[in-house]
Amino acid sequence: MLNYALNRVLTLVPTLLAASFLVFMFIHLIPGDPASILLGDTATPEEVAELSRELGLDEPLWTQYVLWLGNVLQGDLGTSVFFREPVLSVIAGGAETSILLATMTMFWIVVFGVPIGIISATRHGSWVDQATSGGAMLFASVPTFWLGLYLILIFSVGLGWFPSSGFPSLADEGGVSNLRYLVLPSLTLAAPNAALIIRLIRASMLDVSREDHVRTARAKGLHPVRVAIKHVFRNALIAVSAAFGFTFAALVSEAVVTETVFSLPGIGRLVVQSILRRDYPVIQGVILIIVVFYMAINLLVDLAYASLDPRVSLK
């Protein structure tokens, strides 16, 4: 297992390097001089010249990349044009919100998605199944921001149950009860992804239930519920876990929109605002971090996959 994990990490290195090179190239693809782009419109010619030297802009692209990568590995992602602060600390400021939002969303996805998916598969063809899988598909067809706006309209403006925007830190006044700010955003974010998980669990359970070994399990005289959970769902989890990376990517994408709708001070909103502010160092930094994070998630998914399926890890 350890050997397998090590192998997977090592095969990720070239992909990670290539992806970081693309992120590095981002600044160079923007029309104009990279130093002026990184410093924004208010920079003086001296500052531009100084940064040009620091980035090695007169050196070949390759050297610049190595220089940049060296800085990145030391935690130096540049300075935000807008905040006049190191990019890393700007991003760190949004981390709490985004991580809490993601965790809460995952909670909803598991709590709603898994049982509904199992029920939908075991009652295959019944009205329950048709309603849930049809409903799931409908939810997956709703634009995230539209759902968010209407949740605000109903539960904040109308009923006043939850706040409509913002998120004070858990460290601020209110403490844990501040999580109520994240209820609507996390539900918004969870809806389409839970829908995907429901459809996925249903489809892979139906596939597994057609396999020969399920017939063997039934021939032992096992109760149908036991067959469904221990033999069908357990094996379907393999396929579901493989698709989990995909769900995470969808989550990141939709978090950008959701954080914007609910004005949450998270990393997703930071990307959008930085794009509108032309704060390129921050854009570059956030993208790099998300890509690294995303690849780490995919790695975990791979390892989970291997631990769920003895055929993978032991081969």
Partner: protein
């Protein structure tokens, strides 16, 4: 004695298995590990063995579907293992293959006519479509199919009929060597007998040489002149059919023959 049509010497086909990667040695599967045999004009040689013994790999290597690791295979005086794919292409007319699974071996998206016309046009054996249709009709009748079936698609036929179509695709090129890889083992018993009879008939009428690959000893006895017994990538015994079946020399051959469930015990 005349020169054999095909003479295989020390053929080896190895596969590397496992994804390799860091700290992991690629292991090598020696599917075919140094086998030699020859087939004369008009002769049927059977390659018999159990699953995983490498018998199918022999056939696939001789048709360049797999790459040989070592050895020579002289076909009509040329080493076909040394040829590039492009150099081998014209020779494919002479060396044809019948596949095991009649459901997977026909492209579901092509009509029978399209399928049978393809090799004719590739090897420039016909000038136009009407000539092709004539050849196809004649070949279909040869394998016991209605000429009208050329307008239909594979899914409209049963397993036995599909295998006849597969045989027609081979025979339409009038090859000199046919490699038949388990041609009847996916078929039902009563259909197996029909197709075995057909293959035997076609082989006799055309005088084509044949490498008949099978695990079914009954089919092997029915169709071949000589038999080669394969075990774990190597040949353990080669001989005339009667000798192999009646006075087997190798212990494995005896074990194999011994394992066949017999009907005759009860009848007698």
């Amino acid at each position: 004695m005349t020169r054999p049509l095909l003479e295989v010497r020390e053929l080896r086909t190895y596969f590397s298995i496992g994804r390799g990667g860091f700290m992991r040695r690629k292991s090598v599967l020696k599917a075919v590990d140094g086998i030699s045999f020859s087939i004369h004009e008009g002769e049927v040689l059977s390659l018999v063995g159990e699953s995983g013994c490498g018998k199918s790999t022999v056939g696939r290597t001789l048709t360049q579907l797999e790459t040989a690791t070592a050895g020579t295979a002289m076909f009509d005086g040329r080493d076909i293992l040394n040829l590039t794919h492009a150099e081998f292409r014209p020779l494919r007319r002479d060396i044809q293959m019948i596949f095991q699974d009649p459901f997977a071996s026909l492209n579901p998206r092509l009509s029978i006519e399209q399928m049978l016309a393809e090799p004719l046009f590739i090897h420039r054996l016909v000038r136009d479509r009407s000539e092709a249709r004539e050849r196809i009709a004649a070949t279909l009748e040869l394998v016991g199919m209605d000429a009208k079936s050329m307008n239909r698609y594979p899914h409209e036929f049963s397993g036995g009929q599909r295998q006849r179509i597969g045989i027609a695709r081979v025979m339409i090129l009038t090859p000199r060597l046919v490699i038949a890889d388990e041609p009847v083992s996916a078929l039902d018993v009563s259909i197996q007998a029909q197709v075995l009879n057909l293959i035997k008939q076609l082989q006799r009428d055309s005088g084509v040489s044949m490498l008949f690959i099978s695990h079914d000893l009954g089919a092997v006895r029915h169709i071949s002149d000589r038999v080669a017994v394969m075990y774990r990538g190597a040949l353990v015994e080669t001989g005339e059919k009667r000798q192999i079946f009646e006075t087997p020399r190798h212990a494995y051959t005896r074990k194999l023959l011994d394992s066949i469930p017999r009907l005759e015990k009860r009848i007698a």
